[in-house]
């Protein structure tokens, strides 16, 4: 692993090193790079050595390179509630996060186990509903959940797969254990940033990259295309897949166009598609062309104004019926929202035991359900210590972070919880692990999470690594891009060669 560029430079760099990495503060959280004694964990050794010999000016120059790359490639996202306009470049921190091979193996197995259980759960609740009748998951919780699609009970989805693309959010507790914070089983985003970050990091730190054996992640688009073709109707000899996007003003539009391009498929909007005789076509310069598979990046509610929201201008009238009759496949399927519903989340470990007869390899974060009276009183008495989430919101919206909240905010949530306890869950405030991050000319610990990407087709694959999101404001625990988060390249190391 040693590389000549890793050798320390003598002279002024040594003094600068104090400025870049010196006085690195450890908080209460698990730090990814530095252990309790202040030394680097073994897999961070070479990176730590490199950072110690890099001057702040050199680092600043490389940080500027990452920013420029991002700006020139137009790696932007849209912020709905910011005043500085709709276009912002996704900030990438150039210090990579590193995961050793053995650690990744456990995470990977846990994720595969989890998506298998979730897909079995979805098939079950949209068919015989064994798990509800056996009382493992409360029936009312599922059947009255706003994301349960009654219209889809009894519909046979291609290959019995509901969730083809999943992006689960993992965090690490103070002892370093990986915990699942939530499963994103609707239209998870972020994978393009994962791929883009790798490209940029290789440009900015080539020698450092070379010093590690990092597993490549570049196969994701090809693997996704395999999944899309696997679920195509059998009548289609050479299936045509498209990516359905809400359009360029959507916050994830960069990702939509990026993936469509990497897969070589058309990026379509609702107005490009039409349904005729229960079959889906796109409008081209040479008339209509048949569409067999749709990777849709539009929520259920907006997919088809005839079935769901009638005011949706993003969707395609008649699409749901075409899907139901099997002439077109959708990824993800309709109705997956009940699997990542925050109200159903506490029961995922039970699903794993119920369907797979296995113990969960990845644990949930401890979760309180205010709809149970005993837990409600605990939640209401401890609002300033808990994180409270609305079950129907995502993206860091509709959340109360107790320790960082004001009295008014807590009162507001108290009233809301008392009025509709089913709409909330509460979790202890976990100090997400920290990672050295470049802030104001030096490296400081910032909280991170990890969103790996799981694909489910003929087999389940987990792309090595995923997107590490970092909360850039000091002490902040909210990593969402819409709330001032940035991201990091994530390296999974290859097995040690004998």
């Amino acid at each position: 692993m040693q590389n000549s560029t890793m050798a320390g430079r003598s002279g002024p760099a040594a003094a600068d090193a104090v400025a870049l990495l010196g006085d690195y503060e450890l908080g209460l959280a698990y730090d990814e790079m530095v252990d309790r004694d202040g030394g680097p964990r073994p897999h961070y050794g070479p990176l730590h050595g490199r950072l110690r010999t890099t001057s702040p000016d050199d680092f600043r120059r490389r940080k500027a390179m990452t920013d420029l790359s991002m700006q020139q490639d137009g790696v932007g996202f849209t912020v709905y509630r910011a005043e500085e306009g709709i276009e912002r470049v996704w900030p990438m921190d150039p210090v990579p996060r590193i995961i050793p091979a053995a650690e990744w193996r456990r995470v990977e197995s846990g994720l595969i186990q989890r998506i298998n259980a979730l897909n079995l759960f979805l098939w079950d609740v949209y068919h015989e509903q064994h798990i509800l009748r056996d009382g493992v998951v409360p029936a009312r919780l599922v059947l009255q959940g706003s994301s349960f699609r009654r219209e889809f009970v009894g519909v046979n989805v291609p290959r019995r797969i509901y969730i083809h693309i999943c992006g689960s959010d993992l965090i690490r507790a103070a002892d370093g254990e990986y915990l699942v914070l939530e499963d994103n089983a609707r239209t998870p985003s972020g994978v393009s940033y994962m791929l883009q970050n790798r490209q940029v990091l290789k440009r900015v730190f080539p020698a450092l990259f070379n010093a590690y054996d990092v597993l490549p992640n570049d196969d994701y688009p090809a693997a996704l295309l395999d999944v899309l073709q696997y679920i195509a109707p059998e009548s289609a000899a050479q299936p045509t897949a498209v990516l359905l996007s809400p359009g360029m003003y959507n916050s994830a539009y960069f990702e939509h166009s990026f993936l469509a391009q990497r897969m070589g498929i058309e990026l379509v909007e609702g107005r490009d598609l039409l349904v005729d005789g229960n079959r889906v076509f796109m409008r081209t310069t040479r008339g209509r062309q048949r569409v067999d598979v749709i990777y849709r990046r539009i929520d259920d509610d907006f997919l088809d104004p005839l079935t769901f929201r009638p005011d949706s201008a993003l969707g395609v009238p008649g699409l749901v019926n075409a899907y139901r009759s099997g002439t077109v496949a959708l990824a993800n399927s309709i109705g997956t929202g009940i699997a990542d519903d925050k109200g159903v989340y506490p029961f995922v470990p039970d699903m794993i035991r119920y369907y797979l007869k296995q113990e969960p390899l990845l644990n949930n974060v401890e979760t309180f359900r205010p709809e149970i009276p005993a837990q409600r009183s605990h939640v209401l008495a401890n609002l300033e210590h808990l994180v409270v989430k609305r079950v129907n919101e995502s993206g860091g919206y509709g959340m109360l972070v107790g320790p960082a909240s004001t009295k008014e905010q807590r009162e507001e949530f108290r009233r809301a919880i008392q009025a509709n306890p089913r709409d909330f869950i509460a979790q202890p405030t976990i100090q997400l692990s920290t990672h050295p991050t470049f802030v104001d000319g030096r490296l400081e610990g910032r909280h991170v999470d990890l969103r790996p990407f799981i694909l489910c087709g003929e087999r389940v694959t987990v792309t090595p690594g995923g997107l590490t999101r970092v909360a850039l404001p000091k002490g902040s625990l909210v990593v969402n891009s819409s709330q001032g988060g940035g991201s990091k390249d994530t390296w999974v190391l290859a097995e040690e060669r004998a």
């Binding site: 939509h256 391009q261 409008r283 081209t284 310069t285």
Partner: protein
């Protein structure tokens, strides 16, 4: 290809050509203004007003204490309140490209995006008040880079041809407009000294990036009749109307996949007739009034090509 994608490719390219032309026109006018202000009574208003009327733009709003010429330059180059300004055109082009990022090559998008950020640079924009030259150069260079990258990295299939259509249709339109407006202007300027006429007709050529190419072909003083002939009917020069129309015809037949004589749709017919009129044009028969009538008619027919294109390919 999706009709929406074809439409966005067409307009991405058309707005970019418009930005290219306008930045060249401002640069040329700026330098002509410097050349003429010592010898003509009121060249400033004459030239800048001629440019505004060519663009069918009203006199721009003026900030307090702003020089009229500076106001015109800022309005034409930078002001996004003016939908025809260079900045606005580049923005529209970039927005069209963004809406179809997956259908152009990544390096095309990157060049266009870089062009946008370079032109939006406050330092570059700040220098426009003194001289618009750097800004105009940057814009033109960016457009050339974009088309170079496009040429080399995008498959020359249907989408590429829609890019060509937008580019050459806009270019043909602008050349016709330059000729028409300048011809009127100079007819009235009879009796002006020879060197000044040469400067003014030289500016017409420079407006169409044609000055050196003209010199090379004719090896003579700049003569109005020859300028008109060169910019209208030269078959090989990329900024002649005839050249533009033959590229349009070529792209149309590639898109439809049929030979020109087999194409009977409105758009091919309109292009073919105008192209034939240019190929068999008797230059000597076109003096002032008849030339003006010909150019006016050609402009109407060019606009009709755009309409037919949108009907034919269900563009939006």
């Amino acid at each position: 290809m999706l009709s929406r994608v074809a439409d966005a490719l067409f307009w991405m390219s058309r707005y970019l050509e418009r930005a290219d032309h306008l930045s060249r026109a401002v640069d040329v006018t700026f330098h002509l203004d410097l050349d003429l202000h010592g010898v003509l009574a009121n060249p400033v208003e004459l030239e800048w007003n001629a440019l505004l009327s060519l663009l069918r733009q009203p006199p721009p709003p003026m900030a307090a204490g702003e020089q009229p010429v500076v106001a015109v330059q800022r309005w034409l180059l930078l002001d996004t309140a003016n939908p025809g300004s260079v900045m606005a055109c580049v923005n529209r082009s970039r927005n069209n490209a963004r809406s179809i990022r997956g259908s152009i090559s990544p390096s095309m998008w990157r060049e266009l995006n870089k062009l946008h950020w370079r032109l939006a640079d406050p330092q570059l924009q700040g220098r426009v008040a003194e001289s618009p030259h750097d800004f105009c150069q940057e814009a033109q260079l960016g457009v050339l880079l974009f088309h170079g990258v496009c040429e080399a990295t995008l498959t020359h299939d249907e989408g590429w041809h829609f890019i060509q259509l937008g580019r050459y249709l806009e270019r043909a339109d602008k050349i016709l407009r330059v000729l028409d407006s300048k011809f009127n202007l100079l007819e009235r300027g009879d009796g002006v000294d020879l060197p000044i006429r040469a400067l003014q007709w030289g500016a017409v050529l420079k407006n169409c990036a044609a000055y050196e190419a003209y010199q090379r072909l004719y090896i003579s003083r700049v003569e109005p009749e020859r300028v008109v002939e060169f910019l209208l009917v030269n078959p090989d020069f990329p900024h002649s109307v005839r050249f533009c129309l033959s590229r349009i015809m070529h792209s149309l037949t590639e898109i439809s996949g049929r030979l020109p004589e087999r194409c009977s749709d409105d758009v091919v017919r309109t292009v073919g007739r105008l192209l034939n009129d240019l190929v068999y044009l008797d230059g000597h028969a076109l003096d002032g009034e008849r030339l003006h009538a010909f150019l006016g008619d050609a402009l109407v027919r060019t606009a009709r090509i755009g309409h037919h294109l949108h009907e034919q390919y269900a563009l939006q």
